[in-house]
């Protein structure tokens, strides 16, 4: 299984920013509410794969919601593809932290959903339904859900729903892929399989990806760049470029470089969490 090695597309990180977050503040629920993000800035290049890690509750999901325009930022600016975000984007595919399947739809119909909404698919859907369905089935098969297409969401386990939710996020090949802990509910073996699946999908089409995860090995395995956030109110504390060739393999995870990277990130997260303890004690 020797695949030709591509140059890490992170070389594009020097190119124009695709996602640009500039000194963003986010406070939930009015003046007295929770401050989730404080003066956060970050930029993601086109076709870059970025992972965001940080302690629980530090504002990672919030960051995702701001980028996709689901919530407006309290202050600062969010730009995607050169345009200021002032409402939900239509070029993004999002896998939410909770795999929110629509319960009245089968798994297949849930995965078909983007085609019913995102242009130019709705117009073609009636004529080429079979084609679109095949595409969804193929993707479901890739994540190990073949045979469950016609099942209802509640007939699937949490991890299976999460995989279906991942399919729904990327089936329409969005230019921007937002993944909020997409593998959190999976066992380590399935998870590592899906790392490769995701990597291959990314290498095939090179969308810009922002992946939130708690698994540092996952971050290092998949991302061109890993961003560590401070505890709440969150900010980007450190970023690490991962200089590993693509496609990355499981063997690489045993390499000293990989281990060092994970250790290093681990240290930063520990520091972020200690800061939190201090903040709470004070």
């Amino acid at each position: 299984m020797v695949e030709p090695e591509r140059p890490a597309p992170s070389a594009g990180a020097t190119g124009p920013a695709f996602v640009e977050i500039d000194r963003v503040w986010m406070r939930y629920g009015g003046a007295g509410g929770t401050l989730a993000l404080r003066n956060t800035s970050l930029s993601v290049a086109q076709q870059e794969f970025v992972a965001v890690v940080g302690p629980s509750g530090c504002g990672k999901s919030t960051l995702m919601r701001l980028v996709t325009g689901l919530w407006p930022a309290s202050a600062g600016s969010v730009k995607v593809a050169g345009k200021k975000v002032d409402g939900p984007l239509s070029i993004a595919g999002m896998a939410f932290q909770n795999p929110t399947m629509l319960p009245w739809r089968s798994i297949l119909d849930n995965v078909m959903l983007p085609f019913e909404v995102v242009e130019p698919h709705p117009g073609r859907l009636r004529r080429e339904r079979a084609l679109y369905e095949d595409k969804c089935r193929a993707l479901l098969k890739l994540v190990g859900l073949d045979g469950f297409e016609k099942k209802n969401p509640w007939q699937l386990s949490g991890g299976m729903q999460q995989r279906a939710s991942l399919c729904r996020a990327l089936v329409h090949e969005p230019a921007l892929l937002m993944l909020d802990e997409p593998f959190a509910a999976l066992d380590i073996f399935t998870r590592e399989d899906l790392w490769s699946v995701l990597q291959n999908l990314w290498l095939a089409r090179l969308p810009t990806v922002i992946l939130v995860t708690h698994d540092l090995r996952e971050a290092v395995f998949l991302a061109d760049r890993v961003l560590v956030m401070t505890s709440r109110p969150g900010r980007i504390m450190v970023e690490r470029k991962i200089d590993l060739p693509r496609p990355r393999t499981r063997e690489m995870t045993y390499s000293p470089y990989f281990q060092e990277m994970v250790q290093d990130l681990r240290g930063h997260i520990d520091r972020a969490r200690q800061d939190e303890d201090v903040a709470h004690a004070g």
Binding site: T68, L70, P88, L89, S90, I91, A92, G93, M94, F96, N98, T100, L102, P103, W104, R105, L113, P114, E116, V117, V118, N152, W154, Q155, R168, M178
Partner: protein, 294 residues
């Protein structure tokens, strides 16, 4: 090396996983018990019903209650048999009147419910009015309707519509207004426009509410048309009952009540059937939707 010390489990512990014959018979007993329980639940209402009829018949005979106060079930049955043709003609008329009013109630109730549920402005503008309107006793409206629509069927249709329209509108609105933000966000994250969000999430989500309201609405619909028929009808079961009552033919009045109940229950059953067919997702396919499970 410590790791090498791990040993495979002896094969007989694996064999324990398999079902033994005893397990299977236990399983079969459970299935049989469940079947018996389900059969009992199905016949239970009929048993109660028959029991009540017997009690009624018994009380009437025991105390010699006169027919014009409370006719016995057998007398009511005989009356239905005797007056079969006029009862059928009038019942048919009431049935159609009700269905027409009910159909209008569905169209308008759904439309208004969707509007109220999906727009904050419409919600705040209309909802209080709707509540106020619903607290008007509809009986008081019938004389006005008669002035507007004249004596006869149109008034009955409008009354039937007015009474059943409200629960439909309110329920559909509630179903759409209470859509989980997470589900809405799934659509919003794809860049869906509000109309699409209503179509793909709001409407399907409100269907359980809609069907729940249908079951209430269909019975109120009958109530409305019969009410109007008794006050200002020239035909229909309501009219038949009021004429019978003015002639002290009490068994015939009861016959009207029975026929109305049969129609109403039948329509309720149809609504319930459609409900279970279309929205099994709401009960997660379990059908048995009592909270306690008892």
């Amino acid at each position: 090396m410590q790791a090498k010390a791990a040993v495979a489990l002896p094969p007989d512990t694996l064999a324990d996983d398999r079902l033994t014959g005893e397990d299977l018979s236990h399983d079969a007993a459970l299935v049989a018990a469940a079947l018996r329980r389900r059969r009992l639940l199905r016949v239970l209402p009929w048993l109660v019903f028959v029991g009540m009829l017997i009690l009624w018949e018994g009380v009437v005979r025991l105390f010699g209650i006169p027919e014009f106060v409370l006719p016995a079930p057998t007398v009511v049955g005989a009356t239905i048999w005797k007056w079969w043709t006029p009862i059928l003609v009038n019942a048919q008329h009431t049935f159609i009147t009700t269905l027409v009013g009910f159909a209008f109630a569905n169209i308008l109730g759904l439309t208004l419910g969707v509007l109220i549920g999906s727009s904050t402005y419409v919600y705040h503008g209309l909802y209080p009015l709707l509540i106020a309107f619903n607290s008007i006793p509809k009986v008081a409206l019938v004389p006005i309707l008669v002035i507007w629509f004249g004596i006869g069927t149109p008034s009955a249709i409008v009354t039937s519509f007015l009474i059943s329209f409200f629960p439909i509108a309110v329920n559909v609105a509630a179903g759409i207004a209470t859509v989980e933000p997470e589900l809405r966000d799934v659509l919003r994250a794809l860049g869906a426009k509000p109309i699409k969000i209503v179509r793909k999430v709001g409407l399907p989500r409100s269907m359980p509410y809609y069907f729940a309201s249908l079951k209430i609405a269909i019975t109120s619909s009958f109530l409305g048309s019969i009410l109007a028929e008794t006050i200002a009808g020239q035909r229909g079961i309501g009219h038949l009952m009021i004429v019978a009552s003015s002639r002290f033919e009490v068994p015939l009045v009861f016959a009207g009540v029975v026929v109305t109940a049969v129609m109403s229950v039948a329509m309720y059953a149809v609504a319930a059937l459609i409900e279970t067919r279309t929205i099994s997702w709401a009960t997660r396919g379990q059908g048995d939707n009592s909270v306690t499970g008892v």
